[in-house]
Amino acid sequence: MSIPLLSVKHLTTDIHLEQGKVRAVRDVSFDLWQGKTIGIVGESGCGKSILCKSILKLLPAYAHILEKSQIIFNGRSINNLTEKELNKIRGQGAAMIFQDPLSSLNPVMKIGHQVTETLLYHLKMEEEPALKKAEDLLKAVGIANPSQRIDQYPHQLSGGLRQRVAIAIALACEPKLLIADEPTTALDVTVQAEILDLLDHLQIQRNMAMILVTHDFGLAACRADEIAVMYGGKIVEYAPAEKLLANPRMPYTKALINAIPRLEDPPHTPLQFIEGQPPNMMIPYAGCCFAPRCSLAGHQCRDQEPLLINDDTDDHSFACWNPLGKIS
């Protein structure tokens, strides 16, 4: 395992709108190895979904990945691949679970067809065995009566069931890399645990790598090897999961963690939140993009952009001029 399965370098994505250009992803770099999970957390609108879609080039036409960006999958740059070659990677190499399961499912197509579609197309299976495999897949994601469900349409399923169908479709071709954008947001905790156990199992069995986008820090803590915190399109802190949670260095990360309601607290405990709005990504900024909302911000923070640098000793990196203290 000498090279990472996925290597992302300087990924930058612009979205062109009538009002102007939104830089949704800014110079993001990371490596992901086989069998590993990277968790991506951050406030709504910080660019998590656009990052995921950029990796598989599943962006809308008005989005544009900048030249300097590099995406290397399985040792091969996918920058200049044709649409046909990309399709092959999307089906068998890397699959994605989209954030909104209702919009990724076809509303007028029966569940069964939607699952078999990828099997017929990518694996060139015959109709009959494909349908059998579809039922097995639905069963594996915890759907009790797959033979009935395959004849139903998305609107006849509860939110959680639709999510499970989307997961089954993504797993159909046994991908090497699974990009899961909020895969369990619509699910209750027991089903969430079962599905993540299933994904874990696949990771161990097939060495599948995973990008797990979530706003649930608890989930990231339990399921990811490393966590990247995004803010304003950038990765602002990156570390092994336990380290990041035990000892966040970036004030933004700490503020996010403080906003989580705690089960131990009595009912009606007021919650902390981050004052102010996330940055407007239309406007280029000088300095640290969190500075306007940061209580520790000084002159340097407002004038000079901090780079993502390694902690002097280890694998913990953060982009901050005034990092929180290190607990040794």
Partner: protein, 320 residues
């Protein structure tokens, strides 16, 4: 938590069913009864597909239940004429689970939020506009976005648009179906604080559906737990957390991923078996096929709700 004795909303023996293929029926909600008191927040949790949204829609008369009675402010909603229902509608509102698809894509955000005000119809356009702008800032939306369309917003912002629309008539009852599940933790905290403020200011009563138990515990006075269309436990929040009784509730609490104890959640450890089909729910206790403490009695006899301590009710043979 005042006025504990006067229920604002009372559900009696609610049943919701859907037709499946081959003449079979999906039993989404089977005989559920509970009351919510004025100013109280009742949390509703349970496995996905257990019927939470179906129950919420039945309360909203979208459509009403197949059988059973929904009483709001001492009025049986099924007995009201269309006109009477329209008149009472602004007093109970709902925030839907699928925030993006619950919004009309062609209608601007400002108009969407103003819609319930238009229905009641005694405000001028300017008055409505001012109220909408105020509400937008309350839920953390920039009022400059008044004329934007829903597709120009992220999932979290669509959720706030819905919340603003639901709160604009200052309803007495608000039903929230997963109102914060697509939000990040900071906005989630803001929305919960906002709902809490509304509760204190206007004595807002809420039915709050969520699968995030920490969120539910934070916002609710009492929590009801559902499993496969049935109520299995209901108790004051703190009490449910400290000493839940039903084996399903225990399973729920043990599956919570927690920041502070990741090691308490070992990978590949628990799997409580396959979900039963809602078209043919198990006989006796519906949880028995996955219950670690199942007894023979559970197969034949359906457990009744039984009060094990004041305000704490459980449907499980272990406690009878």
């Amino acid at each position: 938590m005042k006025n504990k004795n006067r229920p604002l909303l009372e559900l009696s023996n609610i049943v919701v069913e859907f037709n499946a293929d081959h003449g079979e029926k999906i039993h989404a909600v089977s005989d559920i009864s509970f009351a919510i008191f004025k100013g109280e927040t009742l949390g509703l949790v349970g496995e996905s597909g257990c019927g939470k949204s179906s129950l919420a829609r039945a309360v909203m008369q979208l459509p009403g239940p197949a059988s059973g009675k929904v009483t709001f402010c001492s009025k049986d909603l099924a007995q009201l004429s269309k006109k009477e229902l329209l008149k009472i509608r602004p007093r109970f509102q709902m925030v839907f689970q699928d925030s993006v698809s619950a919004l009309n894509p062609k209608r601007s955000v400002g108009k969407t939020i103003a819609m319930p005000l238009k229905v009641t119809g005694n405000l001028s356009k300017n008055e409505r506009h001012t109220l909408v702008e105020k509400m937008m800032s309350k839920v953390g939306l920039d009022s400059e976005l008044f004329n934007n369309k829903p597709h120009q917003f992220s999932g979290g912002q669509c959720q706030r648009i819905q919340i603003a629309r639901a709160l604009i008539t200052e309803p007495e009852l608000l039903i929230c179906d997963e109102p914060v599940s697509s939000l990040d933790v900071s906005i989630q905290a803001q929305i919960i604080n906002l709902l809490e403020t509304m509760r204190k200011q206007y004595d807002l009563t809420m039915l709050f559906i969520s699968h995030d138990l920490a969120v539910v515990k934070n916002i609710s006075d009492r929590i009801a737990v559902m499993y496969l269309g049935k109520l299995c436990e209901i108790a004051p929040s703190e009490q449910l957390y400290q000493s839940c009784a039903h084996p399903y509730t225990s399973a729920l609490f043990s599956a919570i991923p927690r920041v502070n104890h990741p090691q308490a959640f070992p990978k590949l450890q628990r799997c409580i078996g396959e979900l039963p089909s809602p078209t043919a729910p198990p006989s006796g206790c519906r949880f028995r096929t996955r219950c670690p403490k199942v007894k023979e009695q559970c197969v034949f006899e359906e457990p009744k709700l039984y009060e094990i301590s004041p305000g704490h009710t459980v449907a499980c043979h272990l406690f009878q």
